[in-house]
């Protein structure tokens, strides 16, 4: 029981450090596409570490909170990349400013191809033919 408390609180501390570093990246990076890396990668990982710490902490005490925390880890790891992807799509389609030292913009290719957002598929376009 003591071991589980120590490991759980240490995981919680590591997750809190990751969340803090992600927020610091949100403050310090130059444009929205790099700020995504702070909050979308580091903070999501930090939150799943926090929930893992709670799951380990409550493993010898009550198993229901452990199961619920594990389910929440799955939800966070599946759903938060969805939200950040939607935000970055919206930013790129509404032409939010890109940092002027960016080397490659791969979304530009897809935006020039007139995505059909209703169907979720790409329209046929003669500008970029498939070479096979």
């Amino acid at each position: 029981m003591e071991i589980a408390s120590y490991i759980g609180s240490l995981l919680f501390l590591m997750g809190a450090v990751l969340v803090f570093l992600g927020s610091l990246g949100l403050l310090r990076f130059p444009d929205i596409y790099t700020r995504l890396h702070g909050t979308g990668v580091a903070s999501t990982g930090g939150l799943s570490l926090i929930l893992l710490g709670v799951a380990v902490y409550y493993a010898p005490r009550s198993i229901s909170i452990t199961l619920l925390a594990s389910l929440t880890i799955l939800f966070v790891l599946f759903l938060y990349p969805l939200a950040t992807t939607a935000i970055i799509w919206a930013a790129h389609r509404s032409r939010v400013r890109i940092y002027n030292r960016t080397l490659v913009d791969e979304l530009e290719l897809y935006d020039s191809q007139e995505l059909d957002l209703e169907a979720g598929t790409r329209k046929e376009n003669e500008q970029y033919p498939d070479d096979d």
Binding site: G22, L26, G46, R61, L82, I87
Partner: protein
């Protein structure tokens, strides 16, 4: 030992809440602010998880519901800004 670790971690979470709210005030485009709101939701989930160390209540239903609602909010606002329609 455990109490000190939990207090330091809660302090870090509150500091990151402060930093994210600074970006929420400053951010140039509205999507920066949306990203800051999403980070704020995520930090609030961490704070609720930290509170559940002290009182072993069934607080985790709230964590589950707030995580799903934060994601739905972000996707709806992003699609509304592009298409003028969240659906």
């Amino acid at each position: 030992m455990v109490a000190i670790t939990l207090n330091v971690a809660m302090g870090l979470l509150l500091a990151s809440l402060l930093v994210a709210s600074f970006r929420l005030v400053k951010g140039p485009s509205i999507l920066d602010r949306l990203l800051a709101v999403e980070t704020t939701t995520l930090v609030i989930l961490g704070v609720i998880a930290g509170i559940s160390f002290h009182s072993s209540s069934e607080l985790f239903i709230a964590v589950l519901i707030i995580s799903i609602m934060g994601v739905i909010t972000s996707v709806a606002v992003a699609k509304y800004l592009v298409k003028g329609d969240p659906f």
